[in-house]
């Protein structure tokens, strides 16, 4: 049995690299490296450093070790923010995760006009997020003449305070967030559904499966990979929700919609005399580490299940 062993190392590797087009590769890569370096990697490193400093970016920074992390963990608002973020993520999971799947399955059954439905589903995604939120803020007007209150009045429900009430504020935010983001996921699922072999459906039909059973036993297992990916992406995305709490309620009423990212924003920018960037970056670092850990555990657990 002979094994081929590479005994001869190429001499003068540099000239080989140059002749192989290494320099032109580097030149074309350079803009991307510079832009990523300046706008992504450098700020990440800076944030890591700042999380160990007491700094307001105006006076000179000083190193304070773990103080920032201790301060953040000891802040009562931290616990509130974590709870609120968890609540938002949970609601989004319960309501916003199955919805695009249901919509995609229904739309894939439509014989004609699939393109139209896809476009309609995607339209909310195209609307700029800030515009969407301001629009919904108008819809959520708590007066009886408000748009949603008028609509629910048609079926006899009394006017609701929507975002003006601590209990209803978070669900209202989740409703808008789902409306804005569902379209993208619907398109992904529609594409994934086309890859399901139709013979499986035929086989199920022959076995006497109902529509619901076909979805449960054929569609979902075939979509497993995509579903697992969109699940973790949704969890990561909703953990970082900022826009809806910031624009709808500013964290109110009475801190009931303060999320982790909004708390970071408050640490950094709420004080007009110079923000506490140390605390802000400490919380950012903690969130990033948590999400990284979560993703790691998630992928370990689901390695068996994804194809």
């Amino acid at each position: 049995m002979s094994t081929t062993v590479q005994r001869r190392r190429p001499r003068a590797a540099l000239s080989t690299w140059l002749r192989g087009g290494g320099l032109s590769t580097l030149v074309f890569l350079l803009p991307m490296l510079v832009i990523f370096g300046v706008f992504s990697w450098y700020p990440i490193v800076q944030a890591g450093i700042m999380s160990f400093q007491k700094t307001n970016l105006v006076t000179a920074p000083e190193f304070v070790g773990w103080d920032n992390f201790a301060r953040v963990l000891g802040d009562p608002n931290f616990l509130i923010a974590v709870q609120n973020t968890g609540y938002f993520a949970l609601l989004a999971l319960l309501f916003g995760y199955p919805l695009p799947l249901v919509a995609a399955v229904l739309m894939s059954e439509v014989r004609r006009g699939k393109g139209l439905f896809s476009a309609l589903a995607y339209l909310p995604v195209v609307v700029p997020p800030v515009v969407a939120v301001l629009l919904w803020k108008f819809f959520y007007d708590g007066r009886p003449a408000g748009v949603f209150n008028t609509i629910i009045g048609w079926v006899g429900i009394p006017p609701q305070p929507w975002i003006q009430n601590a209990m209803q504020a978070m669900p209202s935010l989740v409703l808008e967030a789902t409306w804005a983001a569902a379209g993208g996921t619907v398109i992904i699922y529609l594409a994934a559904l086309t890859s399901v072999p139709p013979e499986l459906y035929d086989a199920a039909e022959v076995d006497g499966a109902s529509v619901w059973q076909k979805v449960w036993f054929v569609t979902l297992p075939q979509l497993r990979g995509v579903l697992l990916i969109t699940l973790i992406l949704q969890v990561i995305g909703t953990s970082q929700v900022f826009l809806e709490p910031f624009l709808f309620t500013g964290g109110g009423p009475a801190n009931s919609t303060v999320t982790v990212l909004l708390l970071i924003y408050r640490y950094a920018f709420q004080n007009s005399l110079g923000g506490n960037y140390g605390a802000a970056t400490a919380l950012s670092v903690m969130l990033a580490l948590f999400l990284a850990l979560l993703s790691l555990v998630y992928f370990q657990l689901t390695k068996r299940w994804s194809s």
Binding site: S24, V27, P253, A254, N271
Partner: protein
């Protein structure tokens, strides 16, 4: 080989061009002209307001050919100011409220302009309490107070009429305010009385309401300060809001308003009454398109001994990064644009005329920077240009000089206001809110910040 060499040549050329472009933005040659950037108006002000401002910039540049002005739209809000300060993007001349000046001076953020100010011929005429707002602990001057204002009860005359109330007899006690609010909401369905509750402005107005009932949010305690958010004045103010909200239902349906959005709603004719600074007429007309005929300003009902009107003001400061030439130019601009109209007849008339020509408000109620006599005199000079309906604001002006003015709380003011925002929001959105517990929590939280400074 050929295509690769071409590609490499193209790449290096591109990089070279980029480098050359970068060098192109080098500062202009020094030709004796000092350029300074100054704040102009709040973004969203109407075109006529910007025309008037640009006209004044032209007047200044004509009189000072060695100075060039670059205006920059600007609105002081807590978050954006902090970001601009950190990013170093503030213009050379900018305005800040009294609450922030002391700390910024201590942090070395405001340029020392004592020398330039002392050259001004009115340097010794300032009301010492007002000038103190712009001075450091060593007496050095770091800014010029340009405006002082009190707080008053803003009301919409048209809504009063529609509700059957007399716009020329605005409420003079808090009971009357409550009754008027109920009448407005019952007859017209509009919000009778509203209050700010977000972006630190809620806490600010709660401070106004506290002072109007004789309470104090912070009291001196030896060398330090003790937070007394649970004083009777604040509790009464919150009980008042609670009654209007939950018993009378006269506060409408939006409880997350801040300074900008409440002005918007008021300008749109949705709110009957609210308290705010006595100088907001400018914003209502310039940015909210309110009809001046609908505007009414009454004095705050003061009840209880120690009751007073919370007074605030604005200081024009110079960026710490300004060079000596820029500092001198900056003080000349501040003198021209903000100060001259207060003490020189020709300047006052010119300023009033320019504003009036563009239909900008002239004669907005204000508190004196120097003394009451000077303010009166400056009003006389511009009397023919005053277009703010003086009868409609007379209910405020007739009383303000008899009402004691009280400065805002001194320690961690913005943090205190932010904490009080939460209390107001809780009271207005939760009928079972525990006011005592919430105020006690504010005491604890803000006291911790104050103690950490020691």
């Amino acid at each position: 080989m050929k295509s690769r060499t071409t590609a490499l040549a193209a790449g290096f050329t591109a990089l070279g061009v980029l480098a050359a472009l970068g060098a192109c933005s080098a500062p202009a040659a020094d030709d004796g002209i000092t350029t300074i950037s100054v704040v102009s108006l709040i973004p969203g002000s109407d075109d006529a307001a910007f025309d008037a401002f640009n006209e004044q910039v032209a007047q200044f540049e004509d009189a000072n050919p060695d100075i060039k002005i670059e205006p920059q739209e600007y609105e002081w809000t807590g978050p954006t100011f902090a970001a601009q300060l950190a990013g170093g993007t503030l213009p050379d001349v900018y305005t800040i409220p009294f609450t922030d000046t002391k700390t910024l001076i201590e942090n070395g953020q405001l340029a020392d302009i004592t020398a330039e100010v002392e050259k001004l011929d009115y340097a010794d005429r300032f009301n010492p309490n007002v000038l103190a707002q712009a001075q450091g602990s060593d007496g050095q001057i770091h800014g010029l107070p340009t405006a002082a204002y009190g707080n008053g009860l803003q009301y919409n005359r048209a809504i009063f009429e529609a509700a059957g109330l007399d716009p020329d007899s605005p409420p003079t006690t808090w009971e009357e305010v409550r009754d008027a609010a109920k009448t407005i909401s019952d007859t017209t369905g509009l919000t009778g009385y509203a209050t700010m509750a977000a972006s630190n402005t809620g806490g600010w107005q709660l401070a106004v309401a506290t002072y109007a009932r004789g309470g104090r949010l912070e009291v001196p305690d030896g060398d330090s300060v003790r937070v007394t958010a649970d004083n009777d004045g604040t509790k009464d103010a919150l009980e008042f809001l609670k009654a209007l909200r939950w018993e009378d239902n006269s506060m409408g349906a939006d409880f997350l308003l801040d300074w900008g959005t409440i002005n918007q709603a008021f300008g749109a004719g949705q709110i009957g009454m609210y308290t705010s600074g006595s100088d907001i007429f400018t914003n209502l007309v310039q940015s909210q398109a309110m009809d001046p005929a609908d505007y009414g300003l009454a004095s705050l009902p003061l009840e209880g001994s120690d009751a007073g009107v919370l007074a605030g003001g604005t200081v024009a400061s110079v960026n710490i990064k300004a060079t000596e030439a820029e500092k001198a130019a900056a003080v000349r601009w501040i003198d021209f644009y903000y100060m001259q109209k207060l003490i020189d007849q020709d300047a006052a008339v010119l300023d009033a005329k320019t504003l009036a020509e563009s239909d900008q408000p002239v004669g907005v109620p204000a508190l004196p920077i120097f003394d009451e006599a000077t303010l009166e005199e400056s009003r006389q000079w511009i009397s023919e240009y005053i277009n703010v309906p003086q009868e409609q604001v007379s209910f405020f002006l007739d009383n303000i000089f008899d009402q004691p003015t009280i400065a805002e709380p001194v320690a961690h003011t913005q943090d205190l206001y932010a904490a009080l925002d939460i209390v107001i929001q809780a009271v207005l959105t939760d009928p079972d809110a525990d006011v005592d517990a919430l105020l006690e929590q504010v005491n604890v939280d803000i006291q911790a910040l104050i103690d950490a400074d020691q």
